[in-house]
Symmetry: D2
Amino acid sequence: MVIVLKNNYDKAQLDRLTSWIKEMNIEPHFTYGATQTILGLVGDTSKIDVDMLGALDIVESIKRVSEPYKKANRKFHPEDTVIELENGTKIGRGNMMVMAGPCSIESEEQLTAIAEAVKKSGANVLRGGAFKPRTSPYAFQGMREDGLELLIKVKKITGLPVVTEIMDYEHLPLFKDVDIIQVGARNMQNFELLKHLGRCDKPILLKRGLSSTLEELLMSAEYIMSEGNERIILCERGIRTFETATRNTLDISAVPLLHQMTHLPVVIDPSHATGKSSLVPSMALAGIVAGADGLIIEVHNNPTKALCDGAQSLTPEQFDELSKRINEVKKVAYR
Amino acid sequence: MVIVLKNNYDKAQLDRLTSWIKEMNIEPHFTYGATQTILGLVGDTSKIDVDMLGALDIVESIKRVSEPYKKANRKFHPEDTVIELENGTKIGRGNMMVMAGPCSIESEEQLTAIAEAVKKSGANVLRGGAFKPRTSPYAFQGMREDGLELLIKVKKITGLPVVTEIMDYEHLPLFKDVDIIQVGARNMQNFELLKHLGRCDKPILLKRGLSSTLEELLMSAEYIMSEGNERIILCERGIRTFETATRNTLDISAVPLLHQMTHLPVVIDPSHATGKSSLVPSMALAGIVAGADGLIIEVHNNPTKALCDGAQSLTPEQFDELSKRINEVKKVAYR
Amino acid sequence: MVIVLKNNYDKAQLDRLTSWIKEMNIEPHFTYGATQTILGLVGDTSKIDVDMLGALDIVESIKRVSEPYKKANRKFHPEDTVIELENGTKIGRGNMMVMAGPCSIESEEQLTAIAEAVKKSGANVLRGGAFKPRTSPYAFQGMREDGLELLIKVKKITGLPVVTEIMDYEHLPLFKDVDIIQVGARNMQNFELLKHLGRCDKPILLKRGLSSTLEELLMSAEYIMSEGNERIILCERGIRTFETATRNTLDISAVPLLHQMTHLPVVIDPSHATGKSSLVPSMALAGIVAGADGLIIEVHNNPTKALCDGAQSLTPEQFDELSKRINEVKKVAYR
Amino acid sequence: MVIVLKNNYDKAQLDRLTSWIKEMNIEPHFTYGATQTILGLVGDTSKIDVDMLGALDIVESIKRVSEPYKKANRKFHPEDTVIELENGTKIGRGNMMVMAGPCSIESEEQLTAIAEAVKKSGANVLRGGAFKPRTSPYAFQGMREDGLELLIKVKKITGLPVVTEIMDYEHLPLFKDVDIIQVGARNMQNFELLKHLGRCDKPILLKRGLSSTLEELLMSAEYIMSEGNERIILCERGIRTFETATRNTLDISAVPLLHQMTHLPVVIDPSHATGKSSLVPSMALAGIVAGADGLIIEVHNNPTKALCDGAQSLTPEQFDELSKRINEVKKVAYR
């Protein structure tokens, strides 16, 4: 950590600061310049409260030079983490996980039909929303408990492991047969939820917040890991920018960058990021080529009414076509 | 609501759409143009799932022309809402609420000293953090239960009503003597928490999310109101932008705009927004002049060590000076 | 175009509006709802000044339903535009253009060495900066005229067509032997420059502004096209967001989206977007898979001092490795 | 400047770096830590090309600790700059400049009427657009030369100094009777234009770019100042964010922050920032209270047709009402 002092700093305050730093067994090194005095701190600076330090009258600015995340940090864990599900499905170090399914679980017929279709096309995990975070309290909130039951039922029918979103740690008992628990973008910094998930034994699919930096995403992973659960899959799902042509802006550079920063697997969600089914296949392939360890894709199919054949969901046919391309692209992917 | 159809739409699909719309007792009006066909929907369109509608093959785009928030909407409640605390302190319709206190509760001495200082300067609510949402699991998480106890103790000593943040609805019982419950920016879309707060009888200070639109803020208020609790104070606390000179960008235009959109009181938090104490007074005054119904200001005082005299916190002396200015500016404030 | 009227609109003003609209041979269709009155305008609404319309007391909001760009619009030009350079090099409709070279032209040796290296690796256009837009007036502004001379000299030596940036239309005569004229992100809305380029007969590489929407990018292309020059190559080079881990955020979804919106070729610039050479190869491949018609890549080589072997520039060796991958990925690219 | 080296840096490269730094008469100070080695550079580091330095294989990151702007830097010019126009009107150090007038000059009648109205209300500079930067080439581009002529004519009639935008330095001769030359947000980094304006003897109103940081704004001012013209008025006019409720987000904290960073006067443009006339008065007052040295406000008046009574323009009556408030608020303004 580097501390830049104000030009006209008070000697007495500097002494207080220096002794406070030394109390933490951190060694300050001074660089006295014509216009600036710089303190280089050597040692474990992770316990320093940067905000508190920045609060000092004599401090002009603070430059952190080491990452605040430890367990998620590749520097300390050079090897890619591989996460294995109960049925042996793996993700990480070359193992690709393709999660596909409907945005919301609507009925057993719907879910079974889609599950069988995506399995046939090569998906190895079924996704389906039971608890739905909706901006409006008046919008459909998902089938909740009943949806989870259906999901487990279809898991048993098809043999596909399942991933679904949790919104409240009180619901954890309901998730005992779920294979991967998803934390949505809006809950990425719901720290109480993260801590509880850190104490459960299930892989967590942690989605990046709409306006979260990659460092913040890793700090949220750190919340889970620091409680003991180190099986985390990171998910880039688009960030909020000024551009309105897409729902969000899929930050594909997050994939190779996260692979540099951390050993955890990284997947992308092109469906929610773009909000346009016409963009999902190309963005899915772009993510794969950039080194993504997997995908989470919305697939919908409702023969009874023709009211869901677009937006961010692919039809089973479109997903099947995409799956074929994924297998080709995987062969030439980066890394 | 206005639906723009794709140029080459399928007649059969349009018929299905039209009947689906009519099933909801909504009347579609057609405008057939050379290049476009437009449907104007008249009636209560709030139950329409816009995402689902946008999913239609034949739909090019949807333009909502009425707000999705109802209980928070000024159109249906022209009168400003006035919220009164147990001790008679009011906010709204010209009643100004100044909430001041430390970011974190550290000790009884610290809290009492600051509480008495800010009360003397004219603050009418004491703020203090017991449960602290921190980006890092390794950072101080607040005194939690013990902090709440201290806060209530100091409330009784000073007679100041108190506001503090909740992070988990499981903690609600601990908040029974708290006057205003704060929802932090990171939890603005923690819908499970919002629903529980909607069933309690305490005023809620709802902070705008870092990348939330004003409409999303009002939809979160709607979550609370739809459960019965209509005593909500909205708080603009800075949004995340590309600018790094300030921690966040305080969107002061949100104050007059929210006053147009809703009848709920609006306050600003210049301390967290700017992250710089040198900017807090000017931004506080700017908010007041723009019509804010109140402020939430960080005040810190630590005589034992000189380690907290800057950053986003004011000293009691600086707060006293600011309070004097606030009273002057109030007289010439907009509205 | 759809006009939503305020609830309590003034009849006399509506009559004035209606007649004003009809004067422009546009037919207004009315939808009278319980809470809203909507006007659907049919006809050529491109001449309507939306700002002026929005200025009306009685207008609540305006929803444009057709694109403001005409010559760039794929709706009116379904076929991909193919641009051919003097030496026959093509871009568009499956023709890939790989532009590579140094950020700044430094010397004949440097430029020739890089040019020959990238040509050998398969680049078909040489890029090199002569006029450099720099944030600081104290930073190196490029070799300017002398740099252009060197570029042309090396063009003749290697036979590679060249692309370089223009900052001032007064310099146009200097560009007579340049094959593609680049407009930098900062000049995307320098409309006087665009108009002059619209009157020259050279292909234009138009870079997206740091905070420009895709529609604004196409409107800038429209400025050039409306003056007669329709040979424009669009370039996604990263947008400014809150994320600081990369210099900018490369919006790869812009590639397939622009292909839907326009018939013009689209390339990406992963070097400037990411600012990190370690991310350039994966982002380049991601762009190709997403359907990009080409790339512009920074390649640097400075044997005399080892002071430029990182950041956003690749070494010739790294570029050669990337070129091999590009050829593989091209085969499985989307579209 | 602080350079953080990669953990496993190459000794030979470090030696090359060290000697390269010393060649520039800069003294490197080393801090060897367990996990990091840090170089503190002391001396005039302004000539160091940070990008080039960041390009080094052995460099992990660079932290600049001194500002890159010199002539605009308050550190080196503690006194507020006061700019005086030919007729004695001043801005800076307590002198308030209120610029008001129409967005576009439409006719002599219109301009004279507005000019006389705003003068009567207390505006001391007339604004009016002759050359209009428009996103669309098909939109009205302003009256250009004829507009400038009218502006000068009305200047003589009313005695009000005038400010108007330049889009092309070729037009400079036309501006000889203009009192303040405006650089629009889109041209803030049109460096060729800035350099030419640096060689003219007129005050420049420099608008912040839509996505420009305050540092970039000051670097653009530096471009002008480094050529000799130090009479620059900075203008905050709203930045581009994710929020769409306002056209842009007016960053009022930029006012006190710029006053800390620079000695140049700072004004705000609430009309363009918000795009809503209903927000202009409150934002204008907020800017004044925050310490703005002036305002630029759009005032429109068109009795012949009622087609411009809203959007971002105030009527003369609304402006007159605002002027009265400004005088009250000035008395209690911050600073």
